[in-house]
Amino acid sequence: MSWNKKHLLDIESLTAEEITTVLDTAKAFKAVGERAIKKVPALRGKTVVNLFIEPSTRTRISFELAAQRLTADIVNFSADASSFKKGETLKDTAKNLEALNADFIIIRHSASGAPHFLSRVVNASVINAGDGAHEHPTQALLDAFTIRERKGKIAGLNVTILGDILYSRVARSNIWALTKLGAKVTLCGPSTLVPKTFEQMGCRVTHNVDEAIRDADIIHLLRIQHERQRKTMFPSIGEYTTLFGLNKARFAKTKPDALIMHPGPINRGVEIDSEIADCDRSLILEQVTNGLAVRMAVLFLLNGGKGPQEIL
């Protein structure tokens, strides 16, 4: 058990022990979500701001509910309805939020590094809810939590991440978390979206989907991030589905206990066959449930002050 960080900006700078601390803490918060009274007063009197400069539904709602279940007050701030359109800078917006005594700022931004910048200019705790193609730490933590809960461990598992790796912050955060926890990570997808340079992050890269999923214990599917692709990275969606989509024929050749994950939103019939998304080996909705517990754990841990853990 160790945690003395003020911000959660990325997985890259966390140790395996810190990741495990979040997962252990999340386990306790998942149990809270299963009680008749799902709310605890841990963050009573604290103010949390959801600063979402890039659209999001599930992450924003998950953080919102997490803060509410911890008895914090939460304010939602989205780019559409904000003064960004009137030309205010990110720093000025954040300073204004801080003037309202925000204790936590949860930021999603299209620019990589925006949360890191913010953490240097405000006193509040900053949580990265996705910055460009860089990282999405709470997604990786909830994915690790889900894998550990279902498989009982992470070390030694074969995890294949299949899809648009190049533009995926989920992939990067997952690679950091899973490799730190001892999993063997394989990346697969079109060569334009899965360059060999990812091997530097400690994983295997292949462009042969059948080989990538054959020995996998976990198959993690990713959506094509059309909004981040500035040029055409592959001929057509139809061809992507044919070559890399998880269809029934491919699914039949996976290990019988291989589990399917997807951070959502899923595109049925593109990266995943509709029936596979709904089958009992799909963890897609469990990921959503666990995301809430993990985000409560992150807020709880960041709320802790400096100094020893000692209770008197």
Binding site: M1, N4, P41, G304, G305, E310, I311
Partner: protein, 193 residues
């Protein structure tokens, strides 16, 4: 209650020197067993309807004590007394003043509504853990009564909280530590700085 008081023993074989804290055994294994037996009998005497009583230990120290009390009480009453554990970390009032605490499992596999809940902890000190426990227990139902059993009451209360069943009252100075060790060798130690 206090994590600090549950620190594991210093490594054995260390030569005691001038700077080492002075420590005294205030309860040995036999005394701990006698205290728990007496507490169990007091619980049985106070609560005529044994079917209404449940035990809830507060991690970490209170959980093994609740298990031991369950064994003695079950022998007295000839029934199995429902026993659970209640982590109070999420209900503490000092969460932003120190590093986030480790959360232990909460397992209350029975309904507390209408029951007499005997909260069990190892050391009663400021009373803040018990206040948090009273709040936390509320989330699981509405007990008919809540009573408090502790192995050691060391005084220095911050809040108007009093134990119903006490193994031993130990006058302490604020800078002393009371360590309850249960395991291979049961003992309660008072450590002076």
């Amino acid at each position: 209650m206090p994590n600090a008081q549950r620190e594991s023993a210093p490594p054995g074989g260390v030569v005691r020197d001038f700077f080492m804290p002075e420590s005294t055994v205030i309860l040995d294994a036999a005394a701990i067993q006698r205290a728990l037996t007496r507490i169990a009998h007091e619980i049985a005497e106070r609560n005529e309807n044994s079917a209404e009583v449940v035990l809830v230990g507060i991690p970490e120290g209170g959980v093994p004590l609740a298990q031991r009390l369950r064994k003695i009480l079950s022998d007295i009453w000839k029934i199995s007394v429902p026993t659970g554990s209640l982590d109070v970390s999420m209900h503490r009032d000092d969460l932003d003043q120190r590093a986030a605490p480790k959360i232990h499992p909460t397992e209350i596999p029975f309904d507390v509504t209408g029951k007499t809940v005997v909260l069990v902890d190892d050391v009663l000190f400021s009373g803040r853990t018990i206040r948090a426990a009273l709040d936390a227990l509320n989330d699981f139902g509405r007990p008919k009564k809540i009573q408090l059993a502790v192995l050691v009451d060391r005084g220095h209360r911050d809040l108007p909280i009093k134990a119903d069943f006490v193994g031993k009252n130990v006058p302490t100075a604020a800078n002393e530590k009371v360590q309850v060790r249960l395991g291979e060798k049961d003992e309660v130690i008072l450590e002076r700085k």
